[in-house]
Symmetry: C2
Subunit: 263 residues, 2 copies
């Protein structure tokens, strides 16, 4: 299996603190040795760093945890391979351009019968189930909407329905973003926390490190972090429910769909 | 204007030496302060590093010049902005997936009337002429070929014809690759060099650095470097001609189209 990390914030925020704990799980405190990646959205642009080597030993990962890249939305992934070789082509996150925006995605879980889904528009470069179903999902959205719908809820509902279909194929925990909204779908395991004033101290589970957010924030800041497992041991994280899709923007939950909602 | 750097090699090769000289031109020995990027193809996968800050001061660029990433194909770009703001979305190289491969592109020059070209399939994320015409070019190829043609020359000829059309709009020096072939189109300025046995010493123009390639190669290695300006001052670089398209693979020129060739 793999682990996911996401962030949505209302001000450009670096993810150095969370990432420091997260990357230790990539071959340090955790078994996810088969590559890692992180994508940042800044000023409408997008950049990603990916490495097929363990994050705990990676000089690129070390740079990222020391070099504060300030962003509204971040997606990161550390991999423990099941489907597909350990190589760059199979390293999350995956990206495709749709409607003039870069859409970025990472997946945790394993699916069955995914080869039967035929993607429109997009094709996988590597040979993972994760990238294949990402291409399928994006192609389905693009076939239904030739441009971003004026009612964003139409898109969100369609996305929830597609996630539900993938959930039927196995474990499908997912982060997806176009750089504005961050979509989190939970099949089995995703937790989140929103930090806002009054800020306090947070202490990492995976590294001897604490931060007092009061020193790094203004009272208006809202920063939410989503992860497979809680990253800190002195804060209360909220567990998502199976079949739940959360739509984040600027650190806040904009919409929420559960497995009770129809397609 | 900007500067381009490309590499095609028959063995996985790092570009640390060339990149060390090249990145000095991004705000050090040259005026290209408005961002830089580099893309590597490894094991069928792709990764890129992009930064909207001057390469000469960039900790990410420093890491890349010290961290040998071995690759068959590399494209890099340093930017001196003309069209479009200085921001990540406008930082080359640009990438789109076509036929299950990541296609990567960088451009030097400035075009007129490019807004009239309507891209199919792909849309620009930023607002540069460079990315817009890349989307157009990729869309044109995808419309003509729904899959990679069995005769690759059909693709190469079509690409040359599209480059010729863009050349009519202004200065269009370009590097494009799918990770196997490296396509170099010259409107005004591109030079190249092929290093093979017997290897000798090369000395950078832009930094006090020399390398004796005998120590880093085997006799079968073939490594070609393409750049806007020669990067070394003790080797003979070949100047491309206006209207010329070179198709490289594994360090060798596979095909050559000149402005005398019809579309």
């Amino acid at each position: 299996m793999c682990e996911l990390l996401g962030m949505s914030a209302n001000v450009p925020t670096d993810i150095c603190f969370s990432f420091t704990g997260f990357l230790r799980r990539g071959g340090g405190t955790g078994p996810h040795r088969d590559g890692w990646g992180i994508a940042f959205y800044e000023e409408g642009g997008y950049r990603e760093f990916r490495d097929p080597h363990p994050s705990a030993d990676s000089p690129i990962a070390r740079l990222i945890s020391d070099y504060p890249i300030k962003s509204h939305v971040v997606i990161s992934h550390i991999r423990q391979a099941n489907v597909g070789d350990i190589c760059l082509a199979n390293t999350h996150p995956f990206t495709r351009e749709m409607w003039g925006r870069q859409w970025c995605y990472a997946h945790n879980g394993q699916l069955g019968g995914w080869q039967a889904l035929v993607p429109a528009f997009y094709q996988a470069v590597g040979d993972t189930d994760s990238e294949h179903v990402f291409c399928w999902l994006m192609g389905e959205l693009r076939q239904r909407f030739t441009a971003p719908p004026s009612d964003p809820e139409a898109l969100w509902k369609a996305l929830h329905g597609l996630c539900e279909r993938l959930h039927e194929l196995g474990v499908f925990n997912m982060l997806l973003t176009d750089g504005r909204h961050l979509y989190c779908y939970c099949a089995t395991k995703l937790v989140h926390i929103t930090r806002r004033a009054p800020f306090g101290e947070a202490r990492l589970c995976d590294a001897e490190m604490a931060v007092d957010f009061v020193e790094h924030t203004t009272p208006a800041d809202v920063v939410s972090v989503i992860a497979t497992e809680p990253l800190t041991d002195n804060e209360r994280w909220t567990h998502m429910l199976p079949g739940e899709l959360l739509v984040w923007r600027d650190g806040e939950i904009m919409a929420h769909y559960s497995c009770m909602d129809g397609d």
